[in-house]
Symmetry: C3
Subunit: 157 residues, 3 copies
């Protein structure tokens, strides 16, 4: 078996602690992102604000375009921010595993990213906090993804 | 060759029927998602509603912000719902293959998810149907992704 | 070791030039997509247009819903178009590597896709150009993703 074959096995093998951590935290982020949908749905039910005529719950329901209700907007924007960031982490983290990073560094990057994104949703849409709390957790996430992407590009350039 | 190496080969090998099914249905979902873009474009041409001044087709074209035209909004929201759900499936399905699920279960989850998302687009933006049709197919999709994510997290915890 | 096992190693091995190119260009696209966020942030600071009350920079800041300011909207829509297209490329490119494509073809598809998406952002939000410049680079990207997805589906059908 070639050295390259071995290298692949180590990188995306489930007994590589870096890869196993990637899989675990990516799964957590899937649940976190789907959970943010629930925050939007909760506000839609509470305010009876729907997007389409066929979604009316009763005659008090309001059909409003995107942005029509501020209480729905807040979790919707938190969710939107997830869509802008988390899929990028999923692919970057997977590819970063191929660069054979130091396990302690890589695992802590995955952990910090996941914590930052959970905090982002909390300070944005669960218990809105004054800035710069949301900016800080946002920048932590973007910085980690950027670092992993640059490491990967350099490794494969 | 180590047992771990073998495990990886079985999980993401193209002769693993679970993984081959994942690849096939993920490809179908790529085409489905790109196809929803065409539904939006079709309405933009039909209504001559564009997003930017430079996109005007003729002097009857209207430049409207997001949400400005209900016939454009409907497929756009279907597409938006895809963005909120399908990338999460792509990563979750890939990682779920690593948990060595029963092939019959896994293949049918991938199949049901793909069918649910195709139905979602149809009942939302092709032949709008009364609720709860869209809610049902939406919940089927989210439930499958959630199940696969939880299975993966437990397996790697 | 089975032939199938070997096939996997060649497909997602870092010494497969197709896969190495996929990893490299996917990383570039991560940075490009995160960079588009900066274009949005730049306009928000320049116009002092924020999304949430807690984001106000000073008393001249305006809290506007999505679509409220055309200069913010332009990079935001470029970013939105990225979200609709680039995650689909990430998964499609990864799966397309499994079809053992001709390296010269595959590497040039990844390269052309990446160039098209960088051009898309430039002509949309950096130096807005008249149509059909944006349509052309958009269609190049969608065509490449569609081609790779169809190739993958046929290979695994």
């Amino acid at each position: 078996m070639s050295a390259a074959g071995s290298a692949l096995q180590h990188a995306w093998s489930t007994d590589n602690p870096v890869f196993a951590a990637y899989v675990f935290y990516s799964g957590v982020l899937v649940l976190k992102m789907l959970g943010t949908t629930l925050l939007v749905v909760r506000q839609r039910f509470a305010k009876k604000v729907v997007m389409n005529p066929e979604d009316r719950m009763d005659k008090n329901s309001k059909v409003l375009p995107t942005g029509g209700d501020p209480d729905v907007e807040r979790p919707r924007r938190a969710h939107m921010n997830d869509l802008e960031n988390i899929p990028a982490f999923w692919v970057t983290g997977l590819l970063y595993c191929l660069t054979n990073p130091a396990p302690a560094l890589a695992v802590n990057l995955f952990r910090a990213y996941t914590a930052a994104r959970i905090m982002h949703t909390i300070v944005y849409a669960v218990v809105p906090l004054p800035q710069p709390s949301r900016i800080i957790v946002f920048v932590v996430g973007v910085t980690i993804t950027t670092y992993m992407a640059i490491s990967t590009i350099i490794h494969f350039a």
